[in-house]
């Protein structure tokens, strides 16, 4: 338990200056959206597809006011409510797709890297081809296919995101496995008679899984953008099923010509803030967990009193 806690604060204690600031800012931004997502029913003034209250219809494309802080859109929806509910949709999609990525990508990479041979070659070839392909186009093709099968649901969109990120998990895990399986401790484990499954589960897994949090956070940022992009093209989730920022922006674009800014500005800002938060978080984690990028906090060498920041130039 203590070790776990220590591991959690490690990124903070081992960073200084800009890196720490980035990490904290990212954490705060992300936390705000996670809170919005979890408590959407209590935080949002109205439902995401609610266009009237007590039988009275909301005004259409009304500017921000006391009743509707962020205004209303052309479907009579309350923009603030849709922004808050949108956080829930985004979180759902991201969590499902990343969990699927880990559940499929990590074992695949482990097995492929551990056994090698023709299975490894074929998998690497397929994953490389998928990786070389423009990821957004891949997402479009998969969502074209999956929404045909499952309708425009959260699950279908999550699965198309999974398809585009799996190659990254596969690559990272496979490459770490390939180098880790030659390590002395693995050899030692084999010498005392550990089977393949045991070696993979107990010795390699812990090693390999370390790069996943950084990858997951950075992918989450990208996934938010891809989800919004699909929504913008009308290939994602339908607006009556869930609030989705990208799809709301598509409707907002039609009003841009007449100077209506509130229908697009708020969902757009929500995307920017969440993606920025996740990116900062991922970069911050990367700088602390990745030893080649880490710049440790150095103690002042000069005897006179100085800020920690001024010592950063040390090698």
């Amino acid at each position: 338990m203590r070790r776990m806690l220590k591991g959690l604060v490690k990124p903070f204690t081992q960073t200084a200056g800009l890196a720490r600031w980035m990490l904290v800012a990212g954490l705060i931004l992300t936390a705000i959206f996670v809170i919005c997502a979890l408590f959407a029913p209590w935080l949002a003034p109205y439902g995401f597809a609610q266009s009237s209250i007590d039988g009275v219809r909301f005004p259409k494309v009304a500017a921000p006011s006391g009743d509707h802080w962020f205004g209303t859109d052309r479907l009579f929806f309350d923009v603030l409510s849709r922004v808050i509910w949108g956080a829930r949709t985004a979180l759902e999609v991201v969590v499902i797709s990343i969990v699927l990525c880990i559940v499929i990508g990590v074992p695949l990479g482990l097995v492929s890297g551990y056994y090698g041979g023709w299975l490894d070659r074929i998998l690497v070839l397929i994953m490389d081809a998928m990786f070389a392909f423009p990821s957004f186009l891949l997402a479009i093709v998969f969502s074209f296919l999956l929404t045909g099968l499952f309708g425009g649901s959260v699950l279908a969109v999550s699965m198309s995101l999974t398809a585009i990120y799996i190659p990254q998990y596969f690559r990272v895990v496979r490459n770490t496995t390939v180098s880790a399986k030659e390590a002395t401790y693995v050899e030692a484990a084999r010498a005392i008679g550990a089977g393949d499954v045991v070696i993979m589960r107990r010795y390699l897994f812990g090693n390999v899984i370390q790069s996943v949090p950084v990858l997951g956070t950075l992918n989450a940022a990208d996934a938010i953008l891809t989800l919004a992009g699909l929504g913008f093209l009308g290939l994602g989730i339908q607006s009556t099923d869930a609030a989705e920022w990208g799809h709301d922006l598509q409707r907002a674009l039609a009003d841009a010509g007449s100077g209506v800014w509130w229908t697009g500005l708020y969902p757009g800002l929500a995307i920017v803030f969440l993606v920025t938060g996740l990116t900062l978080l991922g970069e911050g984690l990367n700088e602390t967990l990745n030893p080649t990028l880490r710049r440790r906090r150095l103690l002042p060498v000069v005897m006179t009193a100085r800020d920690d920041d001024s010592t950063e130039r040390g090698h």
């Binding site: 392909f133 186009l137 998969f142 953008l225 010509g257 500005l265």
Partner: protein
């Protein structure tokens, strides 16, 4: 990683070109697997509400859907080898014609976006890297993150409201109808055609239409260039030869310019190739935002029509374009940097 041995340029090019074939083959197979083997009937998806059951059967037969999968696969791959990318199901056009008519618009959009990205990204990256951890560095890095975090259509939305409206810039299409009517299509690239016609107003009109979409798409990838140039500057500034030059007492600005900047720019060329994939995806969204008559918008149109034939053909062409561009970039790289060849 390959041990070419001699390290001569022609040999490297030949080896690299040979690798293109299996790469394209794998991607073709993937496209086929995803679009053909997956359940769902393309013909009734595209035409189900227009034709009756008998006519649908005839269409299926004409398109070869009654044949075994392996035969369909062979026909698809060999057709692509003959540069036949099939026809669209919904309006029975040759995919190659669709690409010819719309590819030019996508090409001019992506190329001008590259120019914007390089013009913005490289100077900012150089400044950020040269003055690490200073205020400009923090600002520029934040800008880099924001330019990536802001979705294309949101940037486009903001530009349309806060820039295009006050300045009276066009936000839809590649030209005004008059220009499209007067300029003769020679190359199917409107900008080139406008220049060929020598008509001043047409050129200005086309450039005006191009401005906002190019800026929108360019901002998306300029963040990548900022980061890359910045990191490279940091690395080269720490390298021994820069230190040696400094130790000899050469002026700091001269060192930065002649030794650090130049070498830091080499990897940019590699990354340009990698960014092409991102750019193609971004182009789809930019085209939808600005109603740009390019290939991406066609793709979205055919997807909404559930036209498997068109989607398969366009995606195949996109895939081949990506692979060929990466080949081109590798060759250019080998020309510039001799280390690559070995």
């Amino acid at each position: 990683m390959s041990r070419a041995g001699s390290g001569s340029l022609p040999r490297y090019v030949a080896q690299r070109a040979l690798l293109v074939i299996p790469m394209i083959w794998v991607i073709l197979t993937l496209v086929f697997l995803v679009l053909r083997v997956a359940p769902g009937d393309p013909v009734s998806a595209a035409l189900g509400d227009k034709l009756d059951e008998h006519q649908l059967d005839l269409r299926r037969e004409a398109l070869g859907f009654n044949k075994p999968l392996i035969v369909q696969y062979w026909e698809y791959v060999s057709a692509v080898a003959r540069l036949d990318f099939g026809t669209t199901y919904s309006d029975n056009q040759s995919v190659l014609d669709v690409v010819r008519d719309n590819g030019g618009a996508t090409l001019s959009l992506t190329l001008s976006a590259f120019v914007v990205a390089l013009l913005v990204g490289i100077p900012l990256g150089l400044i950020a890297g040269r003055y690490r951890d200073s205020f400009p560095d923090v600002l520029i890095r934040l800008f880099g993150i924001l330019s990536y975090a802001a979705p294309i259509f949101f940037v486009g939305f903001l530009l349309q409201i806060y820039v295009a409206k006050p300045l009276g810039l066009p936000t839809s299409g590649a030209s005004s109808p008059i220009t499209a009517f007067t300029v003769q299509p020679h190359t199917h690239i409107l900008l080139v055609d406008a220049f060929l016609s020598g008509d001043g107003t047409a050129i200005v009109d086309v450039l005006k239409h191009l401005l906002l979409p190019a800026v929108t798409l360019g901002l998306l990838i300029c963040g990548v260039f900022i980061r890359l140039v910045r990191v490279n500057i940091l690395q080269t500034m720490q390298s021994d030869y820069v230190e040696a030059a400094e130790a000899r007492g050469i002026d700091r600005i001269k060192v930065t310019w002649r030794h650090a900047f130049r070498n830091a720019l080499v990897p940019v060329i590699t990354v340009i190739g990698l960014q092409f994939a991102l750019l193609l995806g971004g182009a789809v969204l930019t085209e939808a935002t600005f109603n740009w008559p390019g290939l991406g918008q066609k793709l979205v149109k055919y997807i909404n029509l559930r036209d498997y034939g068109a989607v398969q053909g366009i995606v195949t062409i996109f895939a081949i374009a990506v692979v060929l561009i990466s080949l081109l970039v590798d060759i250019v790289n080998a020309l510039i940097d001799p280390r690559v060849r070995y």
